[in-house]
């Protein structure tokens, strides 16, 4: 972890060489997710609830998804540029350094401009927590923490799969964005609003619902099944097959000619 901060500091120093670009993209990021926030807002100014969820409830749900996504993105988005890292041969360099490959990939592409998005998520959180009228008892707070942690891990897992696919195709596969960026966009609403089929898929295949829908309905009191509180922890297990897939990918690595 110490090394990660060292990398972060060197990247920060590099990015500061291009100050204007840095500030512009942070502002840009903020504006982009602000528009999605407006989307939710305007929708609710017309319809007061979606499938039985009130505006402030949806806002809380969105805040959770956005925060965990942004945190995951802040640390793990290195994988997004992974196809570039492979095709320009940078991965060769990573492989000859005595540190974990995943850590190095992550650390080599830290995006400080994503702080814009993170900031926005925190603003939303600050607004949603009192507005959601949830009675913040200890178990509810714990649930919220589990949701965030689960979200970070599941999104990280998705980013790792996305990257591992590059070992086989060299190019990144855009369809994976359905689950990462798509997960964030659709995750504005509790997944049940998309119907039974989608919910099942997001429970058993890509466990996005495990840290969103189930603990969320427990949080807002729509269910009092305490098991739901711990489902995000089950969702975290998703990272294991992702890491195995990564290992297989590294073995399969072909490098590029020089």
């Amino acid at each position: 972890m110490n090394l990660y901060w060292k990398y972060a500091s060197i990247i920060l120093r590099s990015q500061m060489q291009y100050k204007v670009s840095f500030i512009m993209s942070a502002v840009g990021q903020f504006l982009v997710s602000f528009t999605t926030f407006l989307g939710v807002y305007f929708m609710f100014s017309r319809f007061n609830s979606v499938k039985g969820f009130t505006f402030s409830e949806v806002l809380l749900c969105f805040a959770v998804i956005l925060t965990s996504f942004s945190l995951a993105e802040c640390f793990v988005r290195g994988f997004d540029a992974f196809s570039g890292i492979i095709s320009n041969g940078e991965f060769d360099r990573i492989m000859v350094r005595p540190r974990n490959e995943i850590l190095q990939v992550l650390a080599s592409r830290i995006e400080f401009s994503r702080i814009g998005r993170l900031l926005q998520a925190l603003v939303m959180f600050a607004y949603a927590i009192p507005a959601s009228r949830v009675d913040w008892t200890f178990d509810k707070i714990l649930t919220l923490i589990f949701m965030l942690a689960g979200g970070i891990i599941v999104f990280s897992g998705l980013f790792i799969i996305y990257a591992s696919l590059c070992f086989f195709t060299i190019e990144g596969l855009e369809f994976m964005n359905i689950f990462t960026d798509g997960g964030r966009e659709f995750g504005r609403y509790p997944f049940s609003v998309y119907g039974e089929g989608v919910l099942k898929f997001l429970t058993f295949v890509i466990p996005l619902a495990l840290f969103q829908y189930y603990p969320f309905i427990y949080l807002i009191g729509k269910s009092d099944n305490t098991c739901y509180m711990f489902l995000p922890l089950v969702g975290m297990l998703f990272i294991i097959p992702c890491l195995i897939f990564w290992r297989i990918g590294v073995r399969h690595y072909q490098s590029t000619g020089s």
Partner: protein
């Protein structure tokens, strides 16, 4: 100690014909061809040796280096470097090696080189005293103390290459892999780099494996050469042996007054202009002194020099001999 035994490596390469319609077709159904990059490659390199690894483009040089440095996993075969299999114990293995890819930088582009060095120190967990000692020594030997405060992107290629080499030696590796370290450098930088590598090998006893297309590198640095072509090791021997193989041919360059009309047995002109001639001798037919005697009987010699085949010529003749 580096030991490779029967290493094989095949690459799967997607292929398609040029053109947009072909590109679309390839999206739907890809055709692959398999290229065998390495076939049964085996060799042993002892500690402290300096080995030149040569061969034409695409012969498998880089693949071998990548397998030895733990980047690639071979299809079959064994490789043991200081008792470790690179692709199985990658982290422990790479701690003991340094790798310079001539065409790729390992420095962080936008920050001063010294900052990159600091980060490399943390990556390799080099302790402070060893780091300082190494840094002082390397900056002095490579003459980079002036430039390590400059961002890497503003360095010339020669300056950058010296910094790259320093960067791969900060953790005092036992083995150094150099993949085309002198590519694109001017004469002065080339000589500086060579001199440094030589010192490193003789003083620190670092094992050096060097791939290059520059035969002067080989001539200046390595005793032993490995020739690879089409994925097979074709020759493993010393440069001297190789020279001996080719020593039956000598080149005579003569400046003279008069007319040099005929060449005797075993002599053939490659050039014969007014007062200047180049003659290739087959020393199995005619000795050098006999040839000179014959020439001096015909003309008045002003200047004469005898040279053996250059490393460049020897390698070209080797490539021809093995048809690679």
């Amino acid at each position: 100690m580096i030991e490779l035994k029967n290493i094989n490596k095949t690459f799967k390469v997607a292929k398609r014909n040029a053109g947009l319609s072909e590109a679309v077709k390839a999206l739907l159904r890809k055709e692959y061809s398999y290229i065998q990059a390495l076939r049964d490659v085996s060799f042993t390199i002892k500690d402290g040796e300096m080995v030149g690894y040569i061969g034409p483009n695409g012969a498998g040089k880089s693949s071998t280096i990548k397998i030895m440095s733990g980047i690639l996993t071979p299809d079959s075969g064994e490789c043991s470097i200081n008792g470790k299999t690179p692709w199985q114990e990658r982290i422990a293995h790479v701690r003991e090696i340094g790798v310079v890819f001539g065409q790729r930088s390992q420095l962080w582009w936008d920050v001063p080189v010294a900052d990159s060095f600091e980060l490399i120190k943390d990556i390799y967990k080099v302790d402070d005293t060893a780091f300082k000692r190494n840094l002082d020594e390397l900056t002095e030997l490579l003459d980079i103390s002036e430039i390590i405060r400059t961002p890497a992107r503003q360095l010339s290629l020669g300056q950058r290459m010296r910094c790259e080499i320093a960067a791969s030696l900060l953790h005092s590796p036992k083995i150094l892999f150099l993949d085309e370290p002198t590519i694109g450098l001017d004469a002065v930088s080339k000589i500086a780099v060579r001199k440094f590598i030589k010192t490193l090998n003789s003083e620190r006893k670092t094992t050096v494996i060097l791939t290059t297309h520059d035969m002067q590198d080989i001539e200046a640095l390595t005793e032993r050469i490995l020739l690879i072509g089409k994925g097979k090791i074709l020759l493993d021997g010393s440069l001297r042996e190789l020279k001996k193989r080719n020593s039956s041919h000598k080149r005579l360059t003569v400046d003279f007054v008069g007319i040099l009309a005929e060449a005797g047995k075993g002599m053939s002109f490659t050039e014969n202009l007014d007062g200047h001639a180049e003659i290739v001798l087959d020393t199995e037919v005619i000795s050098v002194s006999e040839a000179i005697a014959q020439i001096s009987r015909q003309v008045e010699i002003n200047d004469i020099s005898v040279t053996g085949a250059t490393a460049e010529e020897m390698v070209v003749s080797l490539y021809k001999e093995f048809e690679i």
